[in-house]
Structure formats: C-alpha cells, structure tokens
Symmetry: C2
Amino acid sequence: MINFDFFSPTYFAFGRGSEHRVGELAARYGSRKVMIHYGKGSVVKSGLLDKVRQSLNNYNISFVELGGAVPNPRASLVYEGIELGRQADVDLILGIGGGSAVDSAKAIALGIPYEGDFWDFYSGKASPIRALPVGSIVTLAATGTEGSNASVITNDYLGNIKSSSNNDLSKPVFSILNPELTFTVPDYHTACGATDILSHILERYLTNTTEVELTDRMSEAIFTRILEATREALADPENYEARADLLWGGTLAHNDILGAGREQDWSSHRMEHALSAEFDVAHGAGLAVIFPNFLTYTLEHDPARFSRFAVKMFGVDPQGKSEPETGREGIKKFREFLDEIGMPKTLADLGIGADDIPRLLKAVVPNNGDLLGYFQPLTEDDVTNIFELCL
Amino acid sequence: MINFDFFSPTYFAFGRGSEHRVGELAARYGSRKVMIHYGKGSVVKSGLLDKVRQSLNNYNISFVELGGAVPNPRASLVYEGIELGRQADVDLILGIGGGSAVDSAKAIALGIPYEGDFWDFYSGKASPIRALPVGSIVTLAATGTEGSNASVITNDYLGNIKSSSNNDLSKPVFSILNPELTFTVPDYHTACGATDILSHILERYLTNTTEVELTDRMSEAIFTRILEATREALADPENYEARADLLWGGTLAHNDILGAGREQDWSSHRMEHALSAEFDVAHGAGLAVIFPNFLTYTLEHDPARFSRFAVKMFGVDPQGKSEPETGREGIKKFREFLDEIGMPKTLADLGIGADDIPRLLKAVVPNNGDLLGYFQPLTEDDVTNIFELCL
C-alpha cells in the first residue's frame, strides 16, 4: 500500500423520493440562490424539474435555470452558465441529469469566481483556489460524478478537445440519488453506464502497487454485484434493488474509495476521451470497445493480476491453466458480458475506421512524449496497436 | 434497501509519516489554537507528541495540552477539558491515541460551545447544534472513531453510566492514520481492536432489511481481510501491510459505508457497554464474550443469514447441512478465531459471575420497556439469557 489521502465530503441522500429534499439540502449549505442546470427533455417531461422548483420554493431559495447540457458537455454552455451565474449572483450550482449536466455544473462553479478563462483548469494552465458549491441530482448510474472530484468538458471552440479537471473543490456538497429516477433510462444507456462503472473499478484494480488486498476485495465485491445488477436492470428496468445497487455502486466505483493506497492506470479512459471527443460516441460505448483490447494488450505485463481478475470477477476456474490462460479466459468473459448487454465490440461498430487512427492518436497522445497511464505505461506505438486491436 | 443518508466528510491522511502533516491539516481547517488531548505514556514516550508540537509550530498554530485520557474515558476529564478549552479559547480539539482520547476530544468539542452540561448530549436530554472541529491521530486500529459520528463516555459522577452520542458534528474534520504508530500495540490490545472492528461489521450485517447484496459483499470483503490481517499482525507486529489493512479496515467498518441502506442491530454493543462501564473491561474483550453468544441466541431468527455468514465470512462448506447447522459452524469458527487471538471466552474470564447479572441487566436494559436492538429485538429475559450463555 502507498500513502494516500481520502476525502469524500459529499452528503448523499439516497432513496425513494429523495429529490424532494433538494431544498432542505441546499438550505443546509446556506444557499439563497441556486442555478439549476440540466440537459433537455426528460428532466422536464418527467416532472423532476417541477419537483425541484417546488422544494426550493418551500425553503425560500430562489433560482435561475440553464438547460441544454448534452452528452460530452460543451465549453460553450459552460461560458453561458458562468455569465448567467454572475449576473444572477447565484451561490450554488445544482446539476440535474446524467454525468454531463453535473460535469458542466462543476465547470460553471469553478468558472464563476475565477477572473481568467475556466478552461485554464482543464488545460492544466491553472489550479482552482475556490469554487461555488455544487449539488447534484443524478438520473443515470454511470459516471460517479456525484461523488468524484472530476469533471470532463469538450471544448467546442478548440476543435473538440476533451479534457478533465480533478479537484477537491469539485466534489459536490450534496448529491441526491433516487433509483426510481433511473427506471426510464433506455437499455443502451443503462449498459453504457454499467460499462463506465466497471471501467472505473478496473482503472484502479490494474495497479503495480503490491499488498492491496483490502481494496482488491472491495473492488471485487462491487464489480461482481454490478455485473448482476446490470443484467437484472436490463431484464426489468423497474427493478428498484438492481437500479439502487447500480446507482450506489457507481458512486462508490468513483469516489476513490477503491483507489485508496494504490497507483491507478487511466489510460483506457484517456483513449476513450479521444474517441468521444472526435466522434461524439457515448463514453461507455467507447470504453466497451477499448477496455477489453487494452486488457488483452497488457496481459503479459502482469499475468498474476489478470488471473486474479478472471477468477474473482468472472469465476473462472484456474485449475490446470497457466496464469495468462486464466487471464485470457477472464477477458473473454468480460467481452461476452459486454456483448450480452448490447455494447459495441469494434471501432467499426462506432463508425470509426483504420483511417481515423492517426486522428485519434493525435487526440490522445501527449505531444511531449510522456507515456500514457501507469499500469503498463503506453508509448505512441502501444496506443496505435491497441486502437488497431479495436478495429 | 431502505433510504439512507451517507456523510463521511473526514479528510483522511493515511500512511508512513502522516503525523508530520498535522500542522498542514489543522491550518487547512483554519485553526489558530489547538487543544492536544491524549492519554498517558506511549504518546509521550514514542515521541509522537513532540512531532505534533513541532508540526503545529511549523504552521504557527499555538496549542494547549491535556493528557490523562483512559480506556472507557471519563466525564470528569471532559469537564476539565471544556474548562481548559474555554479559558484558552481553542478552536480545534485534536485527540491523539486509541479511541478513548478521540472520544473525549469529541465530547470536549461538543461541550465548549454549549451553555448546559455536555452530558445532556449523552443522556439524550439535548441534541447539539454546534461543536468545535475535531481532528484525530489514531494509534490503535479498533473503534473507528476517526471516521464515525460516535463517542462513548463513562460518567464517573453518575455511577459509571456508559453512554454514547451520535452526531454528524462529531465526525472529525481530519484524521491522521499511520500504521507504523500501531506497531507497538501489545498483542492483547491488537486482538481487542480486531474484535471491535469485526463487531462493527456484524452489528450492520445482521439485519432484517432484504436486498442488501452490495453492502453484504463489501462487508464480507472487509471482514475476511480483517481476520487475515489480525493473524499477520499478531505473528509480526511490524508487518506494515497487515497493520495498514487493520487501520483502514477499522475506519471503513465504522464510518457507516457498510450500514448504508440497512437496518442495523447494536444490541451486543449495548450489552458490552454495561460490562465495561461496570467492570472496566476492555471493550473488545467484552465483545468477544458477548457477540458469539448473541449469535448463538439469535440464530433461529434468520438461519439463512447465519448460513451466509458462515459460508462467506469463514468459508464453511454448506454441502449436506441445514441452514442452522451451517450457521452454527460459522459461529463455532468465529469462537475459534477469537480464542486463537487470545480473547476471553466467558464472563468468568473477565472476573464476572452469575451474581453480577442483575447489576449488568440494570445497566443495559432501558427502564421504559423498550426492546434492545433491531435484528431480533431483545426483551429483558432475552438479555438475561444471553448473559447466562456468557457465564
């Protein structure tokens, strides 16, 4: 185990009807004027927005509204939100929806008190020293943004660069999680979300840090339950318990409780960000294509770890098999699972061809020659090879 | 799963040398003057207190000191701390040591801004509305107070009533956990601490809430690792990784991440508090006597759950056995483990006899006829029967 800091200050209100508590929770954090930020359509149609307005009214908290967040949320909307927030003098940004609305809420919260361009925090030019508090109401089990320090923004002014900011200031002060709000998520997006959750676990599970038995077991506990709960939710979209375990498991997969004390990888996420920035594919779908091929490519780096992955995550029987053989069977089972839940298998399934690899490579590989990730640090050739495996 | 709130705002700094960061962390929370509260002996002799003084000096944070915390910490010292803290106008209480010093630091932090008697918060007469922030440096893997809302105080002015306060205000703002600081813990107290940790998991694991698969698996992950790490630490007290998993596992066993969404029991803790208040036994030792007998007594309430406990926690093979048989084998293995690590088996081992049961009963059973605990709510007769099983 390596030294670590762990800090998860978010107040989580979880369960049926919890969206009615948004006024109470905003008041707990002293808010007088909220910016409600959401996507389009379902938040309005489902009546959720009305419930939020009502709850804030009940606590005499005023608000302004900004809709329009889209998957792979755009910088242009963040600029709009910063402008609106300053004019209206809001003191808390409430993101409602899947990961996108919450991620752009985080960016707006960073940008409002900052004199420069909020993108500085995403380009690495500056580190934030203050931010407005963010609250969230999450309607999709996926990104874990409700408990994470991360937000990912696509800069549509700069050729769709997709970049992330990771900062304690971006951890929501409260997050409201009602599994019922995810009943209407279509199968494809349920599966994309599950793939994202599983990937968040694996980005931490694949580590060179030894002696991480406690967090390994916790990771295996959550991963295996997510596999089951995904199948249950797809079979019966209104299965409350399955939706609940996906939602809470998705939060725990990314509030870094599973990363405590270990070096983490994150190269698959970096490769996927190039995909979704350049081709606007769903993040989970991109991960479904990349992750199994990343696993195949790096298997020889640490066959013992892959063997454990296969045995503990997918119940592979290691009897009579070498570690690489066991590991490969685990990867095969992971591919079969992703196929079963309807995820794409290849870049071709996403409309991306061999000709596009140079463009992807340009978006993913740092120009300064740094290697990508930490498990098996990847050269530009490695990344090319992995994209070719994905074809 | 039932609705829940989860809130674990503590900033954890974990690892080798982390005690040198106390100044940085106190400064992070705006402190100018700290009360350092500790027990006796080891904190001074080990040089830990000097390191803390130095680190605070480095950040120009002044301090006053109050030693003397003892296991089952006393109200009389809390009153002394409140008086000292008010006179010195401190703004943060830093508890250093095992659970006791941190628990009385929490009580002092509740008492300083309160006009009435701090005991009101432990007797249930009042609920706190504010408290000074608490920091902790923990030198024993056991109580989980470093991340919990709980503190337990024994009122030596009121015939040694032992009572707890549970409040979000008592969650430390930061906790420093260096496994090296636990290398010198004697075997008996290492084992007592492990028993406390395992009990914190079981108090939540034994539930009537159905559909708690995610947290069940997380509980099993942590429980089984604690079993192993305890053996490793007893075999080699300077095994860093074993000490680290005990320390972090002990935190996670009681910051309520394992209690999310489920009804919890806590009757064994209530029975043990009577033991340690009346006879000043180590909390873990008291739990080692009571818990297996509580399990035996309540097995028929839910044999399926006990069977799962046996299979998942202790690897019992359920083949050809009824659920109660499997469950009983699990309890037997739990007893064997406690025996192996040197814990007492009977009240007699603690110097307590059948004649003392009425006195224990008086200390544990509420006079208003409420049942004890939630798994199998216990009548006064039930509690008597369990104490008799412990003889």
